[in-house]
Symmetry: C2
Subunit: 533 residues, 2 copies
């Protein structure tokens, strides 16, 4: 990763400096061309954002807040969309139908309060914005009211570290790398590494119930949260720092996953971990996918808690691990800051062998080998940049993810892949659908699907939307969740409305009406919007 | 435990058949008499409940529901209070100021709906009632409106078992033993063993966010919950069976801990575990309490996840483990259904030794040794029966519990024990205050305190209330939670109101108003009551 001065890409993933080089892009395009002879792979570079027909802001902040607000066209364009495939392609086409009128960058919590006061009084929508890496339309002002994108990026400090309890009080606007940089001198880590790590913030993780890189146990941001501080239009909510409590429904769990509709998370006390000293990674090949799933399930139910337990199907194993298997490739890892974990790995491999798995390799790393997460980052974190290379060339390249119980998995997976392949065939005339488990639980896996298909430049957003509708229907009809860790945003709303209990929606809408009487917070997300332009 | 026909005690803990025998009570009283020479230990047996001046019911059910409702005086008396010390003593005095007008026992979920419809229409309060073992005033109609105690005990079936995902769909009214009896043929267990296990229900555990016997990881009912079915006055809420989801705030987490104010939990899909095959228990003596706490913290932070990690202080070690130590006794246990756990215990003992701990004994049990939980049950489960023996003899015998972060523990514990001892001294002229950790987390322990003091017969409720007020003030002022697993009920309300964020209370009250427009559900719990007589 580039560590010098960097510029965020207004249209695509990450930074301008880290985007695919000509050589990386060339090699990738060459591979795709070999797989898809005849597909038009013309490159379509992004337009100049300064020349987009973006209307002037419809609102003006009061003088006291003007210094926090930017009306710059490029800044606003960069805050108009998240970073899903459909966002990136719309940017490439210059299709920015809804752009926030202003980007506000509070320096203090007081600024957040003042900005909410102004917007509440004037009927201006507020979209809390962390790193802007939403892939579910969570930060897009897809409505007609005037909107302020509330970019929390200046609230980026670790304010307090409690080494004894292994916890820290952290401002919500901090990005992943800056957070880890501030924790490292204390020997601590949040150990939360979503793929968006470098371009997402603590507040974004909390508001969307993010899932970390690790496969089991303490990887979801929910479980890492000790307490929250949230600015709402009716006041500031601060929960107590507690390791656990049975005092009524959890206040934090109402705000976790609230996607900016109830308030703006400004700070949290987060549970941290010691930096790992022992790490082992192993990979196991299977001839049969069903046997691989069974092995993975038994490992997930054995109480071993691997840090990685990622089952790749044949296509994923070939594309992302360079390994040819007929049934699946299980990537296992264990780590500990406290003790060698050989006994743990040995037992996991024994289970894998009991189900026909063949261990391919085992690799130990001790502390001197450097950063825990260094090796997977290189390939895993390049994926979205490569997605952009292909998006510019008329490919449909996107992912979707879910979770279901183990008993349902086989038929669920068959129905979802069938729907995906059928849609890809109908819409694109063919393509690839892959699957891996990102997380495994004692009662079920979280399958993550990839779609790679040749599109028609100009139509690829509509093509993806058709495929997405088909797979979302299959997921919803077969009992899965419309999102395991990508959040609901605006893109998943239709299916979310079928998934969540109506009674819960009634309760959530009532809570929102009480905390956000003017209905200014992220209108259209999770509950019906009330703000009228 | 008595396994034949049993009768629930209307006034005290558990069943009439399992109450302390004359010999057990005699031996206990003899020990107390030796410790408290001069204290009046006259036995005060309970009154005949049939002769208590209990007013006639103020409401009459519609004919269609009459068959579900009981107006019997003893039945209503048995449902008037929970089973806290102050409940038992008030029963012994015949002080039943608020008795439910009726006890309703629905046979089906439809019955629950019909009962709520009737009560909503007629302004009758409904108190959802599981096993009635609340120690926080959660089931007591402490208000003037007419009230129905909604006893879910007939909804006691395991409806469906998913062996693959290790989960079951279970009716909420099932008691602990009946639940485990139904799971045993499948080789599964919920592995949730609160002290009230035999006299509490799944629905009660869910509504109060119960903590199990196990010290770490999967022991809280919250984490064992896959989905919930809840009857509210505005409809039935059913969440999807999912191992995890990031689709908005968790619907289940709103109902978990809602203590009957939002709806009646009728069913849940619960995550189960294989029955353990390997078990090891060890105890470690410490000369110094601070060192013992540090060792316990390091074990809690090591990623070993012991099934037991209970640090007893000197008094607890002597009273409940018969062991004389100067600093503390750490009881450690590991168990697994999948693998030997020697490596886990070895490392935990190494950490204990690093902090001056001296291992006293290690005991292995294999599967043939019988029921996993059998041995601790015998002493642990007798405690409430022995409490009743002493309560009848003018002793003040009660517990309180909390949780805090590790960094705060030393000063927190000093402040709380100081407040407790001072109050015990002032109110009772002396007594014993003990402490053990019931649960430990990476970021803090859950201390559980016991109070044993000579009271004045006739005043012991007021005496306890004074002690409780003093310790609750110390807990709240020093950053703890007013309850880690006993729930809020009516007895903790004052301190809960200081603990939870006001903004959250606003949201919760709005949610309740939306789901329970007539305000009939458990009035006075968690949020201000709206029902007027």
């Amino acid at each position: 990763m580039n560590t010098g001065r960097v510029t965020r890409s207004w249209w695509g993933w990450g930074t301008v400096e880290d985007a695919a080089t000509a050589a990386e892009a060339g090699a990738l395009v060459e591979r795709v061309a070999a797989l898809l002879p005849g597909h038009d792979l013309t490159d379509h570079p992004p337009p100049d954002p300064g020349r987009l027909p973006i209307p002037a802001p419809r609102v003006r902040p009061p003088a006291a807040l003007a210094g926090l607000c930017s009306a710059g066209v490029v800044d606003r364009a960069g805050h108009a969309h998240g970073k899903a495939f459909r966002d990136v392609v719309r940017n490439l086409h210059g299709r920015l139908d809804h752009v926030p009128d202003l980007v506000a960058r509070p320096r203090t919590e007081r600024d957040v309060i003042d900005l909410l006061d102004w917007c509440g009084g004037d009927g201006v929508a507020v979209i809390p914005y962390g790193g802007g890496s939403s892939v579910a339309g969570g930060v897009e002002p897809r409505f007609d009211a005037p909107a302020v994108s509330l970019d929390l990026g200046r609230l980026d400090q670790v304010l307090q570290v409690d080494r004894v309890s292994r916890a820290a009080r952290i401002q919500a606007g901090v990005y992943g790398p800056a957070l880890e940089d501030q924790l490292r001198p204390h020997g601590l880590t949040l150990r939360h590494f979503p793929q968006s790590f470098a371009f997402s913030t603590l507040g974004g993780w909390l508001a969307t119930r993010a899932g970390g890189h690790y496969a089991t146990l303490y990887t979801h941001i929910d479980d890492l949260t000790e307490s929250l501080r949230v600015v709402t239009p009716v006041g500031v909510s601060e929960s107590r720092r507690l390791p656990a409590s049975g005092a009524g429904p959890s206040p934090d769990r109402l705000f976790l996953g609230s996607e900016g509709i109830l308030g703006v998370i400004t700070e949290a006390w987060m549970r941290l971990q010691d930096r790992p000293r022992w790490q082992i990674t192993a990979s196991v090949a299977f001839d049969d996918h069903t046997a691989a799933v069974t092995a993975t399930r038994h490992i997930a139910q054995a109480g071993l808690y691997p840090s990685n337990c990622r089952l790749l199907d044949t296509a994923e194993a070939f594309l992302n691990a360079g390994t040819a298997v007929t049934g699946g490739l299980l990537v296992l890892a264990f780590e500990s800051a406290d003790h060698p974990i050989d006994a743990w790995l040995d037992r996991a491999l024994e289970i894998a062998r009991d189900h026909g798995g063949e261990p391919l390799s085992t690799r130990r790393r001790d502390e001197s080998a450097g950063d825990a997460a260094a090796s997977w980052r290189s390939s895993f974190l390049r994926m979205p940049y490569q997605r952009d290379v292909l998006a510019r060339r008329g490919m449909v390249v996107e992912t979707f993810e879910t979770a279901c119980t183990w008993d349902a998995f086989e038929s669920f997976h068959a129905a979802v892949t069938h729907a995906a392949r059928q849609a890809v065939q109908e819409v694109c005339g063919g393509g690839l659908v892959t699957c891996r488990f990102t997380h495994v639980y004692p009662d079920g896996p979280a399958p993550y699907y990839g779609v790679y298909a040749p599109g028609r430049w100009g139509d690829t957003v509509a093509q993806w939307d058709d495929i997405k509708a088909a797979v979302s229907e299959a997921i919803t009809a077969n009992g899965g969740t419309i999102t395991h860790h990508h959040a609901v945003g605006r893109d998943h709303r239709r299916w979310y409305d079928r998934q969540r209990p109506d009674v819960f929606a009634t309760a959530l809408a009532a809570a929102k009406a009480a905390l956000d009487p003017a209905g200014i917070l992220n209108p259209g997300v999770l509950v019906p919007p009330r703000l009228r332009p």
